[in-house]
Symmetry: C2
Subunit: 397 residues, 2 copies
């Protein structure tokens, strides 16, 4: 049997909804883990109701949950709790992104589960973390983007606040959680002991602020948004050509000199305003005006060919349609598809973690229908499938 | 001896420079790994020369390399190659972010190292990945932000291109690499076999596009930037109050009704333009005008108290100074410091991966001086320290 991925021996019980948690468990599934989504019987993961829809199916849900299985359980119902506990007893990893306290009230907090299943890795993704006074507050992507500082760095000077155009508040947290799960599994392999992984969306935003904290720490001045510019490397930004913008990254004196040659402005590196990267950064507006004057006569296509030929890093600003057609993106298998029984083939992003010795298929299993795995999972757990279906109807019988 | 972290048994040889790679190995170090930076003897990691500086030390470098060790090796010199190979022979993980082909020309490509050190996990972070026609091209953050689509989604409609205000092109790749290393270590624990982890900055950008690909796949229309708005949840954005902006996330009918009550505009949910989330998203500009009219008389502080009291998720847009003062950020130990011998105490972001049973210190070891670990590491490898220092001077002797 072909290897699925490095996590192919793992069973993950996935209680997560919408984005941060499902993004994490998508990565685990892409890396070979068996991920069983435990969804609420009424409507399942909220993301099933988030558009856009294809033939009534959420393209959003389908892209975040490909390759997972689904079982619907009401964790307040004794019969369903029995199934859940049998599942957790076999699981290697549990991931949840409920509001803090929900799992504890169900009797499934970290302390309780660790006592019963000492090998279980328990990962909790939350808005503000499991500790601190704000732990109970709900969080959403826009809330942590605002609180965590990234919005104060993104946008053009003087423009209204700008959100990062993807839900980086959720996605960063999902990624850090996957890193934590890998670390906890390593510790378990050595010691047999499971750990709690506690990742907050807000903490994750702080962790990706990069040089902004260093700049503030060094200068005492809170950094402001700079449009497309880099704070300390110039030119390293978008410039207008005749028909559109392109980005140019000429971050050292050699590349800057080559750029000025290619733009037929060989005198610019001699200009005292532009003689070093530091000076170019201080006089970035003046430099932008000079460079755009030189770029204006020709198209982006013209300049990309000319600058790339001169060894100057540059690129067009691609929209999503162009990204999906990009030959390198396709060559890397980053555009994949899953065939849904109702919606048909759905295009989605591939897995960027490429590992030698493991397959990286262009076609992946589709996202599950709500509760599609009920009988299969119950059978595997040694619970009687037919009785189970009955007991669901009967509630807590 | 207290436990350092789940990776405390690991030795990581770190050939990376500047950002994507060092961000990955920072995470490994924060999780307990011993990380030995192998730097070029002339100047070391380029980030040492990137400002801002505190007492001549790069705050940028210090924040990305805390808790690592350093040895300067010229991998073209036989004596230094001997040290490097002895180090790799003991290492669990090697991380590099050279341009594709550099390691192969040194004789240290994946195939060569895997043959000699079959247990070694070899992680390569690059702009475009190890495969495909574009593999050899250099990449920089702004280049992959442009090519990968996130710039096409970020900013205000009609504004010039906007970069995400942190180097998300590098950081996302560093995170996916850390996930891949965790997965490869898991596989090694089971089989004894090391893997190559191949992560591209461009692929990583595609993987974080989130719902933009689903929207394009469902509608055929490439998504455009929306300022601070969410594409399909409304209101979920920044609004102007009397003195500044705040964000409000009232993403369902119940929260929207509560919001309108709190703003003393209880009739708005009855307005046919705003009767459902879908209608609110289609009429987002009109809704923004109505809500900002209601918000305008009072300050952000007034509204935060009032809205939070009504259970409506909301937040101020914090700059970096405010982030570092945020009580929850501090309670979560996300503001830490490392004491540099020259620059003194330097503030930096903490580790967002919180694990039960492991310490999360507020004070961390500083970043290394170039080559500070030379004698220590050589001694540990059983190489003669004094002779080594001599042989460096003598080149390839």
């Amino acid at each position: 049997m072909p290897r699925r991925g490095p996590f192919e021996d793992l069973l993950v019980v996935d209680l997560t909804r919408v984005l941060a948690g499902p993004f994490c468990t998508l990565l685990l599934a892409d890396l070979g883990a068996r991920v069983i989504k435990v969804e609420h019987p009424d409507r399942g993961d909220d993301a099933r109701a988030i558009g856009p829809f294809v033939e009534g199916r959420s393209a959003y849900f389908m892209s975040l949950n490909r390759g997972k299985e689904s079982i619907a359980l009401d964790l307040h119902e004794p019969a369903d709790r029995e199934v859940f506990e049998a599942l957790v007893a076999r699981a290697d990893v549990l991931v949840e992104n409920f509001r803090v306290g929900v799992m504890g009230r169900l009797g499934y907090g970290w302390a309780a589960l660790h006592a019963r299943y000492p090998r279980l890795v328990y990962a909790a993704v939350s808005g503000f973390g499991q500790t601190g006074l704000a732990a109970m507050r709900p969080a959403y992507d826009i809330v942590v983007q605002a609180l965590g500082g990234i919005m104060s760095l993104t946008g053009h000077p003087g423009s209204p606040p700008t959100r990062v155009g993807t839900s980086i508040g959720d996605i960063a947290a999902g990624l850090f959680t996957a890193v934590g799960i890998g670390a906890a599994l390593h510790h378990r392999a050595r010691t047999g002991e499971g750990s709690q992984v506690d990742v907050a969306m807000l903490d994750s935003q702080v962790a990706i602020l990069e040089n902004a904290i260093a700049r503030f720490a060094a200068t005492g001045v809170a950094p402001a948004p700079l449009g497309s510019r880099h704070p300390s490397i110039t030119p390293f930004q978008a410039f207008a050509a005749a028909d559109a913008h392109l980005v140019i990254a000429a971050g050292n004196d050699l590349l800057f000199a080559r750029l000025c040659q290619a733009l037929e402005r060989p005198e610019l590196p001699e200009d005292e305003r532009f003689a070093s990267n530091d000076l170019r950064s201080r006089n970035a507006d003046a430099l932008q005006a000079e460079l755009e004057e030189a770029l204006r006569p020709h198209s982006v296509a013209h300049w990309l060919e000319r600058l790339a030929g001169a060894g100057i890093p540059c690129a067009p600003i691609q929209d999503v349609a162009q990204v999906l057609e990009d030959p390198q993106v396709q060559a890397r298998n980053m555009v994949i598809r899953a065939v849904d029984a109702v919606a048909g083939a759905v295009t989605m992003a591939g897995n960027p973690v490429k590992l030698s010795g493991f397959p990286d298929p262009t076609e992946r299993p589709a996202a599950p229908e709500l509760d599609e795995g009920r009988e299969r999972v119950r059978r595997e757990l040694g619970l009687d499938g037919s009785q189970a279906a009955g007991s669901r109807e009967g509630g807590g019988s």
